[in-house]
């Protein structure tokens, strides 16, 4: 995480009218469309898999992840592909914006992490030219989505195959 914060360049994007940013360090590419294959029983925000030149990448719908009400048409949205350790993820955002340079000291950090599950990935805020940019930690975006196994197994508790 230290590396992410040391890097000053951030990719900005729109989700539900708000501006968010992730460090450009982990960003590998941005692409417009792609066929998404559904993954049953995955977390709600994980809307499927994307085939990216031989690599299979889970797609995280940032609208769902950030708790934005209403869905934008998927067709016009953009995949922001990031790399986190050995795994790759696509963040499905409404629209890509610019790349900004922000030094660490310019970012305001919340006094304590948000308890709100939708905002728990936000690490800081930066007021840039009249707009607010929320910084997201990719690790924290992904982490809560991995807690699905227990829930999944619970759902499977009911007897199956009842005619």
């Amino acid at each position: 995480m230290a590396d992410i914060q040391r890097d000053t360049r951030h990719c900005c994007f729109l989700v539900g009218g708000d501006c968010f940013a992730v460090s450009s360090t982990g960003v590998t590419e941005v692409l417009r469309d792609g066929r998404i294959t559904r993954v049953p029983h995955a977390a709600e925000a994980v809307i499927g898999l994307l085939h990216l030149r031989g690599r299979i990448v889970p797609v995280i719908d940032m609208r769902r992840r950030l708790g934005v009400i209403g869905t934008a048409s998927t067709a016009s949205r953009t995949h922001l592909v990031i790399r986190l350790h050995d795994d790759w993820y696509s963040l499905l955002v409404d629209e890509m914006l610019d790349v900004i340079e922000v030094a660490e000291h310019q970012i305001e950090h919340p006094s304590k992490p948000s308890a709100d599950t939708a905002n728990d990935a936000v690490t800081g805020v930066f007021a840039d030219d009249g707009r607010l940019v929320y910084f997201l930690d990719p690790q924290r975006i992904v982490q809560p989505l991995a807690r699905q196994r227990e829930q999944f197994l619970q759902r499977q508790g009911a007897p199956h195959g009842t005619v």
């Binding site: 066929r35 993954v39 031989g54 690599r55 990448v57 889970p58 999944f152 199956h160 195959g161």
Partner: protein, 795 residues
């Protein structure tokens, strides 16, 4: 150190190989202590490590190997003889070198461990014995290192900058004159030219030597990315093939690209392959150490070490195989004295064999030891409540042996021997099955045990069955797929409800089914329930039916014969399988536990690969099985299938289909009478014929007219031996159907075991007990589950 990191890594890899070679050579040397070639090879290897460590400034390593080399020098010169103390100290040195290399690999430095004591031991072992011999040995070691008395610093300084083979051999030749008066065996080393030494050695090192010229080290990541790219190329090729074209030039190019891509894929896949040698090479040492600690004598025979399989699998089979080898030495092979008393050679024989067999790699671990005491295992299984005593008594030996794979059974099964270890055979089985393999065990008391491990060649590319479910597609590993059953609404195979679970009846077996759409939370389609396909899969010891809409090739063809109402025709055909490249789906989705990966199909679509073991666990199949089984036992007579017939007198009767061997039709004129019994000739023998009506207590029809159908033919239901192989004459065969109600034995009458509903009509079930030649062998009709589950007798 960091700037020559690359060289250090190479040094580590090389030295690791050297150590494996050392283990092998030292074991061979113990068998033939006078083999000068082996000794030369060992000396050379240790010298190489020593030289390299000096080059990189690893002083501890240098000091240690120096002491070892010194000892080996004495050994080579015949100053000392190879005994347990010498070989023991050399093994300790190899282990110490290994641990230093490990430290270097992890931390980049040699670590804090102190090996001075070991160095001193090595020196002492060399010196003590040497003291007995004349002092003329001194000049021998001089060219190597002058500071024999001070074992610590010498190699740290760089007096041996050329670590390659030539220097290793040079001292050998320089020693030659000095050792001339000593025993003959050492002479050949000195006289044999350097290049020919490897050639005289066993084939393995000889094969390794030239490979250094034709092979290079390549980063695994690079190979993986090449494989990925080839996969991409295959997809592009597939798309290219779908293009309709009338241009012959284009067709030619597409054809060429097709051929080249195929070859390229094959070659790329081969880069993943490694000989199983990489696992086997550790075993001579393991076996030697084990044999020493367990007080056994073991002769290890390795066969097929060049058998190749996927690199990633090689790692996965290492631990299970090690465990099997340990088991064989510890529990299989008896102590030498015991073996002799049994008339076996003192040394036990342990065979490790690998070979390719029908697209898989088979690895056998075979010992000629005591074998597994089947009765002890049987008793233990009963004691542990794995099986009840009555059932256990009937189980054949090979089934009993399967209990060894039960969790926690291992320690209990160690009736043969001493030590208990953490890992049991269940772990071996679990680990092997996790990579799609199987483990079989066979044992003959007194003669030995053979464990056969079968693993796939690779996990990266597997044959798979692609199924449709709603709007989605999923891939199932073909290895687990048994057969496909088409569901039919018109009386063919269908899903039945039993104990709140869905089951399908397959040749008398009740197999629990899961509706894939429901399981995955997809919108359920009635289509799948009625006209879909059941994919029967076998995972571990469980059988499961997955109900899907169809397979990739579309629904299975139905012919007229299979549409005939009332006959349950199983369509089993080889549905088209795709060879798919398995790709990881990332930790986020892998931890769901129901997908083992994903693949990209020819049309570019991404398809999830179902993890059947995970699904089985998530659906809690064992619980369903238990429920189904217990209910099935109670209601078997109500759910079993019956042959429905009409008697001459017009009564509707049913015969459990289990008991029916076949149906015959013949002219009434063929009916003969002998000794007051009616018979019909069948091949060389006669089948006794009984009129169904007479069984039901109706007045016996005149001989010859029984079962006489309108056209002068007789329908005969031939029963199996439990009913004396008798033929029951009836007017008409109506149907084969499952009973729809419980057998009501209150409605029993003469010759009637009871009444139940078949095909919507009350039907009398023929009481066949009277027919039994030996009544005890005949299960009472409507009795419990006597003819379950051996239901496959009907042909």
């Amino acid at each position: 150190m960091s700037d020559n990191r690359e060289f250090v890594e190479e040094f580590l890899v090389e030295s690791g190989e050297c150590l494996d070679q050392l283990d092998r050579d030292l074991i061979a040397l113990e068998e033939h202590p006078d083999d000068p070639q082996r000794l030369a090879s060992i000396f050379r290897t240790v010298h190489t490590i020593k030289g390299n460590s000096g080059f990189f400034g690893f002083s501890k390593l240098g000091a240690l190997t120096h002491s070892g080399e010194h000892l080996l020098g004495k050994l080579r010169d015949g100053k000392i003889r190879l005994d347990d103390r010498v070989s023991g100290s050399l093994y300790s040195m190899i282990d110490a070198v290994r641990s230093i290399l490990q430290a270097i690999e992890q931390t980049g430095v040699e670590g804090e461990q102190d090996f001075r004591e070991l160095s001193q031991t090595l020196t002492a072992v060399a010196a003590q014995d040497a003291a007995e011999v004349e002092s003329e040995s001194e000049p021998v070691v001089v060219p190597e290192a002058s500071a024999v008395t001070d074992p610590l610093p010498p190699a740290a300084t760089p007096p041996a900058p050329q670590p390659s083979a030539p220097t290793a051999v040079a001292p050998a030749s320089s020693i030659a004159p000095a050792v001339a008066p000593t025993p003959v065996p050492t002479l050949p080393i000195a006289t044999v030219p350097k290049a020919s030494i490897p050639a005289v050695e066993s084939p393995k090192p000889a094969a390794l030597m030239p490979s250094s010229e034709t092979s290079i080290r390549v980063d695994v990541g690079l190979l993986a990315s090449i494989l990925d790219l080839v996969g991409e190329l295959v997809l592009a090729r597939n798309e290219l093939r779908t293009i309709e074209s009338t241009n012959p030039a284009l067709e030619g190019v597409i054809h060429r690209i097709n051929t080249v891509t195929n070859s390229l894929q094959e070659a790329a896949v081969k880069t993943r392959m490694q000989p199983i040698e990489h696992v086997f090479s550790k075993f001579p040492r393991t076996v030697r150490d084990l044999a020493v600690s367990c007080g056994r004598e073991v002769q290890l025979v390795i066969d097929g070490a060049d058998t190749e399989l996927d690199r990633t699998l090689i790692e996965s089979i290492r631990d299970p195989l090690t465990h099997l080898v340990r088991n064989a030495v510890d529990h299989g092979i008896e102590p030498p004295a015991e073996r002799e008393s049994k008339g076996k050679p003192r040394a036990g024989r342990l065979l490790l064999r690998a070979f390719h067999e029908s697209g898989q790699v088979t690895i056998e671990v075979k010992d000629d030891g005591a074998g597994i005491p089947v009765e002890a295992v049987r008793a233990k299984a009963v004691a542990r409540g794995l099986v009840d005593a009555d059932t256990a008594a009937l189980l054949p030996a090979d089934r009993v042996l399967q209990f060894i794979f039960e969790p926690g059974f291992s320690t209990a099964a160690q009736v043969t021997s001493v030590s208990g270890r953490g890992v049991g055979m269940d772990v071996v089985k679990t680990n092997i099955e996790a990579i799609g393999g199987t483990v079989d065990i066979a044992s003959q008391p007194g003669l030995g045990t053979t464990v056969r491990v079968r693993v796939p060649l690779t996990l990266a590319i597997i044959p798979a069955l692609v199924v449709r479910c709603g709007s989605e597609r999923f891939a199932l590993p073909q290895a687990a797929v048994g057969e496909l059953v088409s569901l039919r609404t018109d009386g063919g195979p269908r899903i039945e409800g039993l104990a709140g679970s869905a089951v399908i009846r397959v040749r008398g077996r009740l197999v629990p089914v899961i509706f894939l759409d429901e399981f995955l939370g997809l919108r359920s389609t009635t289509a799948a329930r009625e006209n879909g396909t059941v994919v029967l899969v076998r995972v571990d010891d469980h059988e499961l039916g997955l109900v899907v809409d169809g397979t990739q090739t579309g629904s299975l063809p139905t012919d007229d014969a299979s549409r005939q109402p009332g006959t349950s025709v199983m369509i089993t055909e080889a549905a088209s399988l795709s060879t798919i490249v398995v790709k990881p789906i990332g930790s986020l989705l892998a931890q769901l536990g129901i997908y083992s990966g994903a693949t990209v199909l020819g049309d570019g679509g991404v398809v999830l690969i179902l993890d059947l073991r995970g699904i089985l666990r998530a659906a809690d199949l064992p619980a369903i099985e238990r429920r189904v089984e217990s209910v099935a036992e109670q209601t078997m007579d109500a759910t079993d299938s019956y042959l429905v017939c009409r008697t001459v007198a017009g009564r509707r009767i049913a015969v459990p289909i289990e008991l029916v061997v076949r149906l015959e039709k013949f002219a009434s004129a063929d009916l003969q009478t002998a000794a007051g019994k009616r018979l019909v000739r069948r091949g060389d023998g006669y089948t006794p014929v009984v009129d169904a009506d007479s069984l039901l207590g109706a007045p016996s029809a005149p001989v010859g007219s029984a079962g006489d159908a309108d056209d002068g033919t007789i329908n005969l239901v031939v029963l199996d031996d439990r009913c004396g192989g008798i033929g029951v004459a009836v007017r008409q065969i109506l149907d084969v159907a499952a009973a729809e109600s419980m057998l009501q034995s209150t409605l029993a009458a003469a010759g009637v075991a009871g009444t139940l509903a078949v095909g919507g009509l009350a039907t009398e079930v023929l009481d066949l007990t009277a027919l039994a030649a030996a009544p005890k062998t005949l299960p009472a009709v409507g009795g419990s589950h006597a003819w379950y589950p051996s239901a496959d007798s009907l042909s």
